[in-house]
Symmetry: C2
Subunit: 423 residues, 2 copies
């Protein structure tokens, strides 16, 4: 019996279903993560965080709440964490990467829908996610049809505020988004009961930038050949970035980077020299959706970058830190998020340009485009990626897959064949 049982019960979790989840995670984690040879010692912290994913971190959130703090959950990298922190709140990523509660979800959703959406709905309806149950407010957005419409349903079960991410990046879209961020700031102040001041926002911008800088430092190290860390471990860190304590996480990533710098000096790669280097791009991979990265890195390649929301899109752009008044600060925050190369935007040419740059910067041999099943924005945009990469003679493999294991064998065959033919 877990020492957190009482806490989980008090959150109203369905204990039986939650136990199933807790039992499913460790063997998967063991197979995917702990069997990797030569992992950096600094991964120990992240292993610990995963081990305590529904334990210690939830306890911290509860302590924060007991002290009068608020917890705000989000499903997307567009929700500005700076704003939440500036009002004393904690911002938690809620995306779900496992099919649990699917039967519950299908009572309110169509069967043929993106597994991420089915997952978060299932988590809420079946009451198996302590993060959800810790939230004072959930923030959605309009980045895709499925989520946009599913939030209307989710709002029956927990209060959801939806931020409108526009479809384009014209001046009028930027203005609309700025207004959305301002409205959100007001709502956050109301929820937390704390005013956002130029001082608290400046600090929070610095803190969140600090997290991004640490992740960027990690990303930079992966440009080395041989790469000092696996793509799976890097993805894990990027996933944990979305719910761990910001300052502790930042310190731990920087510690890891110190270690990796030594490895780079020693030319100690995580895989043998000559291992093929690939970039993964497409839809977000939420914990514990490590399926494709695991297949890639057990098929003779190393992933050197994730052009994903659980990857570079989350930390690539910083918010300028010079502004000293709220209006300018909030403008800077809003502008930073409009720099995300999300497929909600039409056209999303900046993503294509960035992919080509990344292939050069990270010395990648090829790109694997991975879209979740039924994800129209990325599955259709894959054609644009294909067009651009073809022009640049960069090899591309396109995959569509869900959270089930049924296609694992077929995926392995395709991925092996792709890696085999990389030069």
């Amino acid at each position: 019996m877990s020492r957190y049982n009482e806490m989980w019960r008090s959150l109203g979790l369905n204990m039986e279903a939650h136990d199933q989840l807790l039992q499913a995670l460790p063997p998967t984690y063991h197979d995917v993560y702990l069997t990797q040879p030569g992992r950096p010692a600094g991964m120990e912290y992240f292993d610990f965080v995963i081990n305590e994913i529904h334990g210690l971190r939830i306890q911290e959130l509860q302590e924060h709440k007991a002290a009068g703090g608020k917890v705000i959950g989000a499903f997307c990298v567009f929700v500005p964490e700076e704003i939440v922190r500036a009002a004393g709140g904690i911002c938690i990523g809620l995306c779900s990467g496992i099919d649990l509660g699917g039967a519950e979800a299908e009572k309110v959703l169509p069967r043929n829908i993106c597994p991420l959406i089915k997952s978060f709905m299932g988590f809420k309806l079946a009451k198996i996610c302590p993060y959800f149950e810790s939230c004072d407010l959930v923030v959605g957005e309009t980045t895709c049809d499925g989520k946009k419409k599913a939030f209307e349903i989710l709002n029956d079960y927990i209060p959801v505020h939806v931020m409108e991410t526009p479809h384009m990046k014209k001046e009028r879209d930027r203005e609309l988004w700025l207004d959305e961020v301002k409205e959100f700031a007001g709502l956050v102040e109301q929820t937390t009961g704390s005013a956002i001041t130029p001082e608290t926002l400046a600090r929070s911008i610095r803190e969140v930038n600090g997290k991004r800088r640490a992740l960027l430092r990690l990303a930079e190290l992966r440009k080395n050949n041989p790469a000092p860390i696996s793509g799976k471990d890097s993805l894990l860190i990027e996933q944990i970035a979305m719910y761990d304590d910001v300052e502790r996480f930042t310190a731990k990533v920087n510690e890891l980077c110190d270690e990796l710098e030594q490895k780079v000096r020693d030319e100690a790669g995580i895989f043998p020299a000559g291992t093929k280097r690939v970039i993964v791009t497409g839809t977000p991979m939420a914990i514990p959706n490590w399926k494709v990265p695991h297949i890639i890195e057990t098929s003779g390649a190393v992933i050197v970058a994730e052009e994903l929301c659980t990857g570079l899109r989350y930390f690539e752009n910083l918010v300028p830190e010079e502004a000293d008044n709220l209006e300018s600060q909030i403008r800077n925050v809003a502008a930073r998020y409009m720099g995300i190369n999300c497929a909600v935007f039409t056209p999303n040419t900046a993503r294509m340009d960035r992919l080509v740059e990344l292939v050069k910067e990270y010395r990648a041999d090829g790109v694997i485009h991975c879209a979740l099943s039924f994800c129209d924005p990325y599955a259709v945009e894959a054609n644009r990626v294909e067009q651009v990469l073809k022009k640049e003679s960069i090899p591309l493999l396109k995959i569509e897959t869900g959270y089930d294991r049924e296609d694992a064998g077929q995926l392995k065959t395709r991925i092996e064949a792709f890696i085999e033919m990389l030069e």
Copy 2:
């Protein structure tokens, strides 16, 4: 050999594939339409229009073009026809309701995508649609992810201008949309080479309103019990509304309504007294997608209204006709389109309210919600419809289906059972 062969060849159509399409249509049309007993005499015109769908109407467009006119194609009821006409252009609905060219479409699109999107892409890539080939400009919009992203691809083959339909109906969304309409007006002027003046726009608003009034008159007549016209015939008229000559069409619908008024006075229903009355709601049904309406009306019910884009959403709201300056006129036009209850909007509560009203106004016994396969906006929003109708004790059947015939038997069984249990 058709007398239009030369015209089709000059448009660059794939003659073989186009012949297949022309051969497929008449038997379907015969079975679905011409076998209906007691059809109004006024349907003869619409039968003629369908018979000439790729013939006379295309010839008219070519004559318009030969005289220096322009043709602008659209995929959505958000594209303001008033603006196109005010600059002397002809606005043509391009949505496609049949799976032809699917193999071509799947070269650039994912397999699991809405059949309407696959259809229009297939029509363009396989060169089987003379409307497409007559267009000087195609106008897309951002009403759903699939179309939004597919327009980026379509733009490789024909110039596509995309209008940004916002996700919400807040004041800032209305302002954004107004700017989109203004930008569109400028583009239309540039394309046609003709200025939009207060006079031409006033006339065009009146003409398009005239079409809407005729369709509203037809809709009003269907409130009578027994209904004087079938739902299938009404849908056909609503489909034809999107590409036929506006003034001729308006006159013909009004002539038909004169005839139907007499039928109402005579209490002559198109189906026997006591036939169950249903409202169809959901995704648009483009020509020749008559599958579900045909099943419904051969299973003991009459459709009395379509809460569809090929239905009430297309003609419910009029543009005010009083304004005499461009700024006010364009504001009125933009505002009219923001009144459409499209699932792009979150929340889309006005649609739910309207559905309940419609059931009362049209004395319907039940509602059939019909979403195209993989259509997230409507398939997910179906849950909201279900919730509202349940509260009002209005029976609902939810269907998801594509353009193939494979599920026709299963659909018939479900629809018959639903109609059977209506009281």
